[in-house]
């Protein structure tokens, strides 16, 4: 006869129990599922992506109505359980009694509400369920929200709302954020990147009182007297196991419902799983152990012999743009040593804590790719004696392997954990793949790997690729191209780190899969090499797109356009006459004025290029680099020379800047402008670098765009002299040249490194600024020259056919 199973609570743990049960023994139980929330099981840890708008609620539903129906689960959703009668073995719901043979208590936890005066006001909520999430999603750019609690949940709530433009303030009682998972340095980096997202953060702040008006929250008062106005106040300060029902039923409880290793409570017919339980004195908040408990409870219900054991846990934060990872114990202590790696330019911090040749803790921020490898070393207690020196660089640097991220995954043992949420190890995934799961979706469906928080998706894909080889197409164009698995960032780092100074060295040392690259990677590598090694590396025209090889823009009919430079937009009658003569002589069909204040001759035949350049060179006109990923123009207004509003000589500064920067190569094109007053006629505030002159000096702002994206520049600094303005512009340009990803405009690079970093490097640290300027000048000693004149002199014949049989035949 079928047994009757009643489950109280449709959360992630009990949902997993039902999955295991109905899969292993579909006919063993008649199941009734109570849930106080009016819905079934959804992936609660994905509420943060729902809040930020990256996912919809529908996407995070784990079990829909059909799922329950197929398995014959009777759902009593929206119905509270009033009592468990253990003597009669009956659960008393609001709408009637249900008898049971076996009972699973999965009542979860309640958010902890600090009993501050005013905590009962309207608009004071926790962050726990869909209703809370929806209330937060109702906030917009006109609203202010205060979040109490700088832990995982509070920060996800804050970042989610900030993504909608809400003015969010986080109040945290401790000295740094996420103090249970992060050390101070990582907490600092996290704080910085959250502040970059516009979130205000108060540390060591004690809340005193919640102030209200007409029964609704108005502000939070701190004990130093600060008043933080808000329309909504979110308390995310922790959870408490929900033991009310169990306690009332006389089950043994402490902080949570006591369970043994089989998840059995003090009653042999009642099990408990999830956040409501206490096992060996511990209560649980992260999802991984909950899933382990669910597996154990399901198998115990089927009378199998299993035991739940607690494991080391790792943490990741689900906030886009904040990559952090922490695992184990990272407190300082006697006999403990640290290995620390910092790369401020990328905002990367890694710290490993070692005790007696064993790794015991790891904190990583900014680059968490090696997290699971470190996690494995900690769990397995591996001796790190042999690899100590290169340990912090991760698995790719162990055993003399190449710097291939896949080799790191390939090197992981089968028992290495890939998905921390679901406790799925590499061996499970490989087994699933061998049974036919050949893409991410299939692996997810059969193993649950990456099906919860999703941060291990990349790793799962790498396991797929390692296992299936070419049969698996890696999604997302993360590697530079098909010639390599490395990303632009990897390659840039390795070119510098391994001092690779030729393309051949890059192909060889970084294991390119093609003999000499392709049209995607060759221009990028050529740029990285010439930017990093200006003296040692010789620019390779054959690795450049035709425009940069021929110093002219190819048009759709195969002809070219020729744009001579007009410094700061200033020209002379003599130059204009030369341009007009050239247009006549070479039958130029279209002469157009460009947006960068100069003149474009369109429709010049390829073989005429050296001749037209030579003619233009004679009056001093040089290449305008209108074709280059490099300095294009410096647009100016007339400034103090003519304008009654002008505050400085904007034209003169523009010309000086253009003469300083011209010929330099950058990751993408670089456009500047100088306006003589805040009326900004040169439109400086939508350029890559813009200077706006004011009475007291020069405001330099960067990161504008007016193309596919339109963006206003952000102020970098104000300086008082023209010389300093030029220095700052050179230093910013060099920082962008050294760090930018090929084909990222300056604003994209700025988005990655952050304005604070640029300010620190270029504005505050004068020594560093001088070093950047010096490196820029060194590079310019090679590249500040007219390529047209050079090609006329040395390469003119390459513009003509190697042989012409049409002439011969005409003889």
């Amino acid at each position: 006869m079928k047994q009757r199973l009643v489950v109280i609570g449709a959360g992630m743990a009990s949902g997993r129990v039902l999955e295991h049960l109905t899969e292993a023994a579909p006919d063993a139980f008649d199941i009734t599922l109570f849930n106080a929330e009016p819905r079934g099981n959804y992936n609660r840890i994905m509420l943060s992506p729902v809040l930020s708008g990256e996912k919809t609620y529908e996407e995070i539903v784990t079990h829909d109505d059909a799922w329950y129906a197929e398995r014959g689960v009777v759902c009593r959703f929206g119905e509270k359980v009033e009592k468990i009668d253990r003597e009669m073995k009956v659960v008393e719901g609001e709408n009637g009694h249900v008898p049971y043979d076996k009972l699973v208590v999965a009542t979860g936890s309640n958010p902890f509400i600090i009993p501050l005066p005013g905590h009962g006001l309207d608009g004071v909520i926790a962050y726990r369920d869909l209703e809370d999430t929806q209330q937060m999603m109702g906030m917009g750019p006109d609203n202010k929200v205060v979040v109490i609690g700088g832990g995982l949940l509070g920060l996800e709530a804050a970042a989610g709302m900030a993504a909608h433009g809400v003015d969010v303030t986080v109040v945290h009682i401790m000295g740094h954020l996420m103090e249970r998972q992060l050390d101070e340095a990582a907490g600092y980096l996290l704080k910085k990147s959250l502040e970059d997202k516009g979130i205000k953060i108060y540390l060591q702040a004690n809340s005193k009182e919640i102030l209200g008006e007409d029964g609704k929250v108005r502000a939070l008062l701190l004990d130093d007297g600060t008043e933080l106005p808000c329309d909504l106040l979110v308390m995310a300060v922790g959870i408490r196991p929900n033991t009310g029902l169990a306690q009332q039923a006389g089950l043994a409880t402490g902080r949570g419902v006591h369970v043994d290793d089989q998840m059995l409570t003090s009653d042999p017919d009642v099990y408990a799983v999830g956040e409501c339980v206490e096992h060996n004195g511990e209560v649980f908040g992260l999802v991984a152990p909950l899933y382990d408990q669910a597996k154990v409870a399901a198998r115990a219900l089927l009378e199998e012999d299993v035991a739940f054991t607690q494991k080391t846990l790792s943490t990741k934060l689900k906030v886009t743009g904040c990559d952090l990872f922490s695992v184990g114990d990272f407190a300082d202590g006697p006999g403990r040593e640290n290995i620390v790696f910092r790369d401020p330019s990328r905002g990367v911090y890694k710290r490993l804590v070692i005790e007696e040749d064993r790794l015991i803790g790891a904190v990583m921020y900014g680059d968490t790719a090696d997290g699971s490898w470190f996690f494995g070393l900690i769990k397995d207690g591996t001796s790190i004696d042999e690899m100590r020196e290169t340990l912090i660089f991760g698995p790719a640097y162990q055993g003399g392997d190449t710097a291939d991220p896949l080799s790191a995954v390939a090197a992981l043992p089968p028992e290495a954990e890939i998905c921390g949420c679901n406790g799925v190890c590499k061996g499970d995934i490989i087994e699933a793949i061998n049974e036919g799961a050949n893409d991410l979706g299939a692996v997810r469906a059969s193993t649950k790997a990456s099906a919860s928080c999703g941060t291990c998706t990349g790793l799962v894909e790498q396991v797929l690729q390692v296992t299936l080889g070419d049969d698996f197409q890696m999604p997302a164009a993360q590697p530079i191209c098909g010639c390599t698995d490395l990303t632009h960032e990897d390659v840039r780092r390795l070119i510098k780190g391994q001092e690779l100074k030729s393309q051949a060295a890059v192909w060889q040392e970084l294991s390119w899969t093609t003999p000499n690259g392709c049209h995607v990677c060759r221009p990028a590598i050529n740029y990285y090499l010439l930017a990093d090694w200006p003296l040692e590396y010789q620019d390779d025209p054959q690795s450049r797109f035709v425009n940069e090889r021929k110093h002219a823009n190819i048009q759709k009919d195969g002809t070219f356009s020729v744009v001579p430079r007009m410094w700061g937009g200033i020209t002379t009658p003599e130059e204009l006459r030369a341009i007009a003569d050239a247009a006549d002589k070479y039958h130029v069909p279209t002469v157009k004025v460009t947006g960068g204040q100069r003149i474009d001759l369109l429709g010049v035949k390829g073989e005429d290029l050296p001749a037209i350049w030579s003619d233009l060179n004679k009056v001093g006109l040089v290449s305008g680099h209108a074709y280059s990923k490099g300095l294009r123009t410096v647009k100016t207004c007339v400034g103090t020379d003519h304008c009654r509003f002008g505050t400085q000589d904007s034209t003169g500064l523009g010309i000086k800047l253009e003469k300083t920067l011209w010929g330099s190569w950058t990751p993408h094109k670089l456009k500047l402008a100088v306006s003589g007053c805040p009326r900004n006629c040169a439109e400086a505030t939508c350029k890559d670098i813009g200077v706006v002159c004011v009475d007291s000096g020069y405001q330099i702002s960067i990161g504008g765009a007016a193309g596919m994206d339109v963006k206003e520049t952000e102020l970098l600094c104000q300086v008082s002299t023209e010389d300093e303005a030029i220095e700052v512009v050179m230093a910013v340009t060099q920082a962008y040249r050294e760090g930018g990803k090929y084909l990222d405009r300056l604003y994209k690079w700025l988005g990655k490194v952050g304005m604070d970093w640029v300010k620190a490097e270029v504005v505050d640290d004068l020594e560093n600024r001088a070093a950047l300027v010096a490196r820029f000048e060194l590079s310019q000693s090679i590249y500040r020259k007219d390529p047209w004149a050079e090609h006329v002199k040395e390469k003119a014949q390459t513009y003509a056919p190697i042989a012409d049989f049409t002439l011969e035949a005409a003889e």
Partner: protein
């Protein structure tokens, strides 16, 4: 088969190309490795892009206009694109590049 001398291999840059003008249109002569040459029509079948201006990699060239990639051995487009360029027989003798005469003579055009 008769051959016509079109120039020395050093006149073509490594991983580059030069143009040969003929009565039947322009032919691109590609050089891949130190001493390896190929010849094909200069015009991409997609939108007529000048293939001699493309980036040469391995034994392939990428059209500068829309990045179609052609295998210089067969003339076939690689990847998802569907198309073919005419290839011509070309060989090297003591550093001189020799092109199949029928490719450039007026007779073959007729």
């Amino acid at each position: 088969m008769s051959w016509v001398d079109i120039g020395h291999i050093d006149e073509v840059p490594v991983r580059g190309a030069r143009l040969v003008k003929t009565h039947i249109g322009c032919i691109a002569v590609f050089r891949t490795a130190e001493a390896e040459v190929f010849a094909a029509t200069n015009s991409c079948p997609h939108k007529g892009g000048p293939l001699s201006e493309g980036i040469v990699h391995g034994q392939s060239v990428t059209c500068p206009l829309h990045n179609w990639v052609f295998d210089l051995n067969t003339g076939e487009a690689k990847g998802a694109d569907d198309g073919r360029i005419t290839t011509y027989t070309v060989r090297l003798e003591d550093g001189r590049i020799l092109l199949d005469d029928s490719a450039v003579s007026r007779r073959s055009a007729a």
